[in-house]
Amino acid sequence: MTAAAPEIEVQQDTATPKRKRFQMDDWWGILWVLPSILAVMVFVYGFIIWTARVSVSSWKGLTPDYTYVGAQNFVNLASDRRFHIDVKNTIIFTLVFVIGCLLIGLGLAILLDKGIRAEGFYRSLFLFPMAISFIVTGVVWRWLMNPSTAEDRLSGLNLLFHNLHLDFLINSWYATPTWGIAAVAIGAVWQMSGYTMALYLAGLRAVPETLREAARVDGASEFQIYTRVIMPLLWPVTLAAVIILGHSSLKVFDLIIAMVGKQIALDVPSIYMWTTTFDGFFFGRGAAIGMVLLVSVAVLVIPYLWYSLRQESEG
């Protein structure tokens, strides 16, 4: 694997900065990208503005109703019990998912960086879940995490634990009160920890060998080399991983639907938005949830985008 930089990896323009350009070509260039720009302007930004407008309306039912109600939908959400569950679940999910991915990803990357012979094989194996749909894995995890704990009705992982005499590990997975969503997050860790590994591995490969050697000469142990030399250099990778994983955990939808369906106890904002809008026709409330999600994601992503792009232009 090439030591590609992770993050958004905005490639440096290798060109001389000041090129001669022909005025005519400026126009042709704009014309060529115009359809795409217009499509994104309408389908991303136009639609966001539209959703924002719906979020301050009293639209209920199948006929659009744009009666302005101010922040009423948002105020209602703030005292909505179901939305409170959503926020709690999102926090638990995000913590388990992000921390799980970072630890497993970093651990695997360090192990693979030892220069073993079967590296390619293991790397491909850890990454293959990325190619599979959350729906597929959700369906499988649903059966693996069968919540039954009664001895005669054990199946899935609980049965496996029993067979391996690890009975203390038997639990009711996603049926666990309060923490059930953490079981769903384990499925998400399975899917995305390989990706985190790939990010870290690229980061490790970018650490010059001379640095490690210099530390060894100075008498640092292998452990110290990791904690004192390499980890600080991996900060940008960690930051990128946290933002990418964190923002995708705010958006998680498919995996939960496939694993546990639409249950209030395992609800998250993206599912609430869906059910309240398209099953319940509370368009105003649905739009408000959509806007809350958008703002949460923007808070994470915009500074990151700004930082990545500024770095590029500074060269």
Binding site: Q12, A118, V140, E222, K251
Partner: protein, 276 residues
């Protein structure tokens, strides 16, 4: 890698945690296949971890009967979507990297942000517009949506690819009198095949695995395999063993791509971010 002696000695133990993690990653695959290859008679939740005594494809046959039309639908959606996406991305990436016009520095970040938005913030207008232009429920509507929301990532991958190609190549073509189209057609397009493969695979996988847009925008006749599979898993009538076999069938196309073209898949993944 230049390995130190200390590293040499410690190498062997590395295989223990790696293999344990490998088992963890393979667990769902094992269950899918192990259950899928059992006969109906042998399937039982209590013997989930026992290997089949004889190989049977009954489960796969049963799952195929249900999912075959949807797998076909998926191909009908994903192939045009990935093809159109690749060409659009290629043109955008080319213009944004080699013919930078005034304002390109504003356009590019705005495009990129589109990659990260939670789609819940555009779903309401999307259904309204789709119904209005008469594409609601159809595969073409879904294809269009995959293409449009794929513009940021495909543009990014191509822009990065073209940015790494020396401008002197473009300059030389200009000196020879080539315009923007000839430069693209005869100079950059032929050398951008690797980027095409990366983008095509990326879009193919993303569209194949999509559920959110598909469940919202397609009618039952046009359901891709993800929607049908989720529906199958939610029903009480279809046995779990058939669900396992169906899950495997739904994963086969993208798994094959990963196995044979994984290198390119990885490159797409690293250059963008996750897009699901």
């Amino acid at each position: 890698m230049t390995a130190q002696t200390g590293v040499h000695q410690s190498r062997k133990w590395v295989y223990i945690p790696l293999t344990m993690m490998a088992l963890f990653y393979l667990l769902p695959m094992f269950v899918m296949l192990n259950t899928g290859f059992k006969s109906f008679a042998e399937v039982s939740l209590a013997t989930m971890w026992k290997l089949p005594t004889s190989l049977s494809i009954e489960n796969f046959q049963a799952a195929w009967e249900i999912l075959a039309p949807n797998i076909w639908n998926s191909f009908r959606i994903v192939i045009p979507a990935a093809t159109i996406s690749s060409f659009l991305g290629s043109i955008n990436g080319y213009v944004l990297s080699k013919w930078k016009f005034k304002g390109a520095n504003i356009v590019f970040p705005l495009l990129l942000f589109g990659m990260f938005i939670p789609y819940q913030s555009v779903l309401i207008p999307l259904t309204q517009v789709m119904a209005w232009i008469g594409l609601g429920g159809s595969t073409w509507g879904l294809i269009m949506v995959h293409v449009i929301y794929g513009i940021p990532i495909t543009t990014l991958i191509f822009r990065n690819y073209f940015a790494a190609i020396p401008d002197t190549l473009v300059e030389a073509a200009k000196v020879d009198g080539a315009g923007i189209w000839q430069t693209y057609r005869y100079v950059l397009l032929p050398i951008s095949i690797p980027a095409f493969v990366v983008v095509y695979i990326w879009q193919f996988t993303a569209a194949w695995n999509d559920f959110l847009f598909a469940v919202l925008l397609t009618s039952q006749d046009n359901w891709p395999v993800t929607v049908a599979l989720n529906n199958m898993a939610g029903s009480q009538i279809i046995a779990w063993n058939v669900q396992m076999a169906g899950s495997f069938l739904a994963a086969v196309p993208t798994l094959l791509i990963y196995i044979f073209l994984g290198r390119f898949f990885l490159r797409g993944m690293m250059s963008g971010s996750l897009k699901e």
